[in-house]
């Protein structure tokens, strides 16, 4: 629920620097021209307007982002047109980093990463597709080869070393 009157209580003064820390652009230079909204595929179909979201970042209205779904398509058209040279898509990536750390990871990400840990890739072929590949003489998919275990172990090691396990909460499941 949005606050009807803002009193400054909801303002998080650290939000902008937190966004920069997680690799987002400095949103303070945004002119609020609205060009990003007009080219944003999501803004065209939903009540969420890119320009408005950047303004909320400027204000430090961090908590409101926890109620907004992760729906930036990452198409970067906003950046392409932005006269202030801000990349809102990268700002939203930074906000996702904050959300992952403060509010947890969406399930689909955890599932996807799990699949990648088991197969090396986020998809597995159906039997039909397996047969087609054989018929056409396509190379066998790497995850069907015995030697591929090493690659999977490497991935697991990387996740452990970068702390990705912890960020995603994969450790607890083990």
């Amino acid at each position: 629920m949005e606050d009807s009157v803002l009193t400054g209580q909801e303002h998080d003064p650290d939000f902008v620097s937190q966004i920069i820390r997680y690799g987002g652009h400095d949103v303070q230079t945004c002119l609020q021209c609205g060009n990003c909204t007009g080219v944003c595929p999501v803004s065209l179909k939903t009540p969420y307007k890119t320009r408005n979201l950047i303004k909320l970042c400027q204000y430090g209205y961090k908590k409101i982002f926890f109620s907004i779904p992760w729906i930036c398509a990452g198409c970067h058209r906003c950046y392409e047109h932005c006269p202030a040279d801000i990349d809102p898509a990268e700002v939203f990536v930074a906000i996702r980093h904050i959300q992952v750390r403060e509010r947890g990871v969406p399930r689909w990400i955890r599932d996807n990463v799990g699949l990648i840990l088991r197969n090396g890739f986020g998809a597995v072929p159906s039997d039909d597709i397996r047969r087609y590949r054989e018929r056409q003489g396509l190379e066998p998919l790497p995850n069907t080869l015995p030697g591929y275990r090493t690659a999977l172990e490497e991935l697991a090691t990387i996740f452990r070393r970068t702390g990705f396990d912890r960020i995603l909460g994969l450790e607890e499941k083990k």
Partner: protein
């Protein structure tokens, strides 16, 4: 020409025909390139999953893929916009010595180190350049050229009106992907026209397919609504098919049309279109995994071939 093909996840597992078509057209029978088979690749990794939750893990996993090819003396060629964007961005970020060292600290644990590709040696010093990450569209356009492709066309696509869809990660953000003009891209259009087809102008050409960034995974209805605008724009311009360089866009256009029960524009990857134009047997191209059937389109094009 020597390339290490990075086929990614969507193509081998959902549209294996694209992989087949790519290998065929690049291979010795047509363009005569040498394709290296690399078995140690993993997920590129996917931007919505990794890049959204931890940039450092994303960079490290991507760097690992780059270490796999750095000593092969070949450019890495992607046939998917997602793989292209993820790996290219990683290759550029790794030029930052600080980031590269941090990544290599982790890679050391798995016995790897990202250095890039060796370009020359002077005395005891080795000089490296970043691993070159390429996109199939741009490889076909720059390394082979429209003329060579035109010369290989056996079945000209005369009269076919195609809506070209580049896909976001091919064009943007421009700061790194400066391979084509983001406001007025030409490469895919020219490849399509090399087959004899016509690339139609439509206002939503630069728009997203709708699936990107996990939108399809999370809010499929939103994804389809975005796709519908784009399809409407294509249909209004009189398009008969869609040609793209990205399997995820292909998947979205294909699925959305079935789910929305609206148009029936066949969707082709550029490799598939070229394979057809070069005269490769359509029955071998795995079109059965396209949701919108390609058959009527093929029938018109080659009545004799598809008869059987």
């Amino acid at each position: 020409m020597r390339y290490a093909l990075f086929s990614g996840c969507t193509i081998p597992n959902r549209f294996p025909g694209v992989e087949y078509a790519t290998r065929e057209i690049l291979g010795e029978r047509y363009l005569g390139a040498e394709l290296l088979d690399v078995k140690e690749f993993t997920c590129c990794p996917a931007l919505p999953t990794f890049y959204s939750s931890d940039r450092f893990t994303w960079l490290t996993v991507a760097a690992r893929n780059l270490t796999v090819v750095q000593d092969l003396g070949a450019d890495l060629v992607t046939i998917c916009n997602g793989c292209f964007s993820s790996l290219l961005k990683a290759s550029e970020e790794l030029q930052n010595v600080l980031k590269c060292n941090m990544v290599n600290n982790v890679l050391a644990d798995i016995g790897r180190q990202y250095r890039g590709r060796l370009v020359r040696t002077e005395g005891h010093r080795n000089f490296y350049e970043p691993v070159r990450v390429r996109h199939i569209i741009e490889v076909l356009y720059n390394d082979f050229g429209r003329k060579r492709i035109e010369a290989l066309v056996r079945n000209p696509m005369r009269g076919v009106r195609a809506a070209v869809h580049y896909g976001c990660h091919y064009l943007r953000p421009t700061i790194r992907t400066t391979i084509d003009d983001p406001a007025n891209p030409v490469m895919l259009d020219e490849l399509v026209e090399a087959t004899g087809a016509e690339s139609v102008r439509y206002p939503e050409k630069l728009a997203c397919c709708g699936a990107g960034g996990g939108v399809r995974l999370q809010v499929p209805r939103l994804a389809n609504a975005i796709t519908k605008d784009k399809l409407d724009s294509m249909l209004a311009a009189g398009a008969e098919c869609i040609v793209t360089g990205c399997p995820y866009c292909l998947f979205q256009f294909d699925h959305a049309q079935r789910e929305l029960r609206i148009s029936s524009l066949p969707v082709l990857h550029i490799s598939e279109l070229l394979a057809l134009a070069f005269g490769i047997d359509p029955d071998r191209l795995g079109f059965e995994w396209h949701f919108v059937t390609v058959r009527p389109f093929l029938k018109r094009l080659y009545p004799s071939v598809v008869e059987g």
